[in-house]
Symmetry: D2
């Protein structure tokens, strides 16, 4: 199943999409209004989320997703991200810094690179604009498979856009937090796909398209099979010596990197598609 | 099963007692810390609460209830109560007012007498003192079977003490709310027994004992089989044209009434026992 | 000053109206978004609310109230009401019950009649419909001056509509809570006037108009100078032996009573005007 | 004034210390239970916090701080930190990495180095143990002047301990977030001193003492006059293109660095004293 958060006035509803039909789970159980509610119930009864959702389907109304307003799929207390998880990413980054060694060391080492990426106040959902800093001149989206964690365990997958200032990051690696953590620096969505729906998370195609003024100015694709650090290993690195919140999202790194000449511009439209999950679409605004 | 709320520092835990053993359900599922959490999960998956609790038992630690501090079993948003639900109650009340007709009319009529009894701020749990108003001279406990409602449906039973000022109530029926709703006017506990554990709620013995200075100054007993208005009917009256909160408690009326000479006094100890649920014990303080 | 709660998407703003101009106080101090925020600040610094609001006015934007959506002026944790506070009310009620004595006794006695009236879930604001119970055949609005209490002290005044089922109340005084506490049983608004703005709360004219199908079907008026129990005395009765929430509203009783032939009907429009506060307008719906 | 958060059962109280006496401000105004409450009131009325506190003193009880349990002084939504803000810090760090250039560049550049340091779940108060990661072998405290920000503006100062793993940080600058953000990685306290109490924040002496098994194993001191980037500049960097929460804490960097042979060990006692604020004392535990 894929789980969508729908905006319903000032409240939210949870929808579940199967192969052909979409159900308003909140219509079946009024106390299940969010992915958090679903996971809490699933954890409480010791089942997986799809099994719990299946119990609701027979009482739930079918809806047409195209008539709904879709929100951030989960209000995770914190979002972390990883870097240097794909071989290509490592190579691409060599050109943006004079210190290729640090990336190579991560690639060769036992410790993944993970970092605090975003709070809910800095995260947008499908259809909202991600931000490029007004004090940055070179900005890129980073399309990533994102794991959704409940008490540190992976309970689903979504798509993440780890928007980054390459000019600030490239100026000095000590500026990385400022290149990564700022207003509208992160987008996730459009839904959370259950582990059963995604299948092997390391066998998914990822593609990104950037449109500007009606024209496609970037296209790229990769596969999660090229990840050198797997999701479970990243989650383990995140939860080690670290108090994890009830719900967290962990972006697992990128390997689609636009050429150095490219920078995001206000008004761009970024679409990220991951096999088995869907497409996350966001505009771009200056912050 | 019987469900207890345990005080754990500034947090709470949920315990479930079977026939011989008591389990700390929070040790099995850290996200189930209260009866509310348990019912929310049960409603979400469409099972009864005992079935959900049974899933946790194998992973849960056994505990000794006698070493625990037991709190109000459920933080219900509101508590309502009913009157004139037993024949004996009706008769007893005839002497306290010059208007016997009004009680007779309720007894004969289709509409139960129900009223707003308490907020969480006015409710105490086992071991805490219930209140007698400082401006009242004649005060009585009212031992009652209490239904616990989730979204208006009965999901369990507990014991309630609908402490009342008979002097204020007796002065004028328009003063009933002041005789009923005040500081520490209500006690519930010690646990919530599931419907399966209670069996037929209209076939339970109820007894009350009041001790003062080490001596028993009142003893009385009755049976819920003498109820003339059943729990489901009272719940229906409560939810009719009325927006019910997620969790509510409905006290179902009393038929154990101390003789007119008796009044509660600061320092008294009131024990109410209901078959299949347990004993609710409270001291008395002036408020 | 008069304080209005404005709906701003899924948030709220606080506006203050002086003699000629209306200010958006939230535009002056973004952390003052409600009457609660204003009173908390005023209590913290030991000033009255108008003095605190005056400090904000120079930085605040002027707005046009007619372009705003006005909400319930305060989310009070509980609303209580009083009865038999006007001589006329007492007389009018004699005909609806066979027990005129009980009203006379309240009128002559030291203890006011006060009762739990509504929770936030049962309260509507200006422009929303109040409810008449589907199991009631005779329903009336009760226009009342309402005191707003912070920690038990009067900090302002608003208008209240204590909608009541006279058929249920008249059937049996023990049914009073069901006649009084139900879905949409209470309306308050449109604003909170400070004590300085209201002046003497016992020297205000109150009028009510009920329109049906474009025609006025009831008009009545009275004056708060006819109150036999004053606001401070009612507040004292409310807070005696009673744990009061941070914010409460206390309706002070009515003396405008439509003739016995009149009953509220779905679609009616009820307007209540109190001198120095404004007009509270509500439709009527069956609940 | 200096503001302390006191633990009172499961609630908190706010105390204010003047030159000779300590007042329980919550005893004067029961709705002021935290530094947040005080600042909200001060911002609402447009005064500074000391002026608001002064209004309460005459009604407040005097207390003896030594009999109180002192908690984290403020539950800031997020804590950020800065690096390379003192000349000595820059020099000291040259030895721990093979990339001295990056620190020199920050020192010479216009953009301060700031980074996300801690959430409330990772922050401890006075008397609680700070953490050293179990996967780290070289750990140090970093004693720092900390600015408290309300809506991005400095409203007070406290002491911060930016505990860091130098082995993880030294291994690779990309691991900095893991060296900085983990369980118990941050301590703040013991109080918040108002700007008026602190005076010039860039003219304060800072000293740190580390005791082990009853002996002092490290002593060091510096002065905030050696800061090359001032607090206001760091706050400006933090709030630029960044949505700041209502309350934040910004650690302003360190210049007391134990010799390379030194590492924190479980059981150590770290005391950090800043002139005009006080002493922040913490034990050390492995996490």
């Amino acid at each position: 199943m894929k789980y969508y958060r729908l905006i319903d006035g000032c409240e939210s509803r949870l929808a579940a999409a199967g192969t052909n039909t979409v159900y308003d789970l909140t219509s079946a159980r009024s106390n299940v209004q969010s992915f958090r509610d679903l996971v809490q119930a699933a954890v409480a009864v010791g089942e997986d989320i799809d099994a719990v959702a299946e119990r609701m389907v027979s009482n739930a109304e079918q809806i047409d997703l195209s008539e709904q307003i879709i929100d951030v799929p989960v209000n995770a207390e914190e979002i972390w991200a990883a870097g240097v998880t794909y071989r290509v990413s490592e190579e691409a980054r060599q050109s943006e810094s004079e210190m290729p060694d640090v990336y190579q060391q991560v690639y060769d080492g036992d410790r993944p690179e993970i970092f605090f990426k975003a709070t809910p106040s800095r995260t947008v959902g499908p259809g909202s604009a991600v931000g490029v800093r007004s004090d940055s001149g070179w900005d890129v989206p980073e399309p990533e498979l994102a794991a959704v964690l409940y008490d540190g365990d992976i309970v689903g997958y979504t798509i993440g856009n780890d928007v980054s200032s390459r000019s600030i990051e490239g100026e000095n690696p000590l500026y990385l937090p400022q290149a990564k953590v700022y207003d509208r620096c992160c987008s996730i969505g459009p839904c959370i796909a259950s582990p059963e729906t995604v299948g092997d998370p390391h066998d998914l195609s990822i593609s990104m398209t950037i449109d500007r003024d009606g024209e496609t100015v970037f296209e790229g694709e990769t596969e999660t099979s090229k990840m050198v650090t797997e999701c479970e290993e990243l989650a383990a690195a995140y939860t080690r010596s670290n108090p994890t919140p009830e719900l967290a999202v962990l972006l697992t790194g990128t390997s689609i990197v636009p050429e150095d000449e490219f920078t995001l511009t206000e008004g761009d439209e970024v679409g990220i598609e991951i096999e088995g999950i869907g497409t996350l679409q966001n505009g771009v605004t200056t912050v």
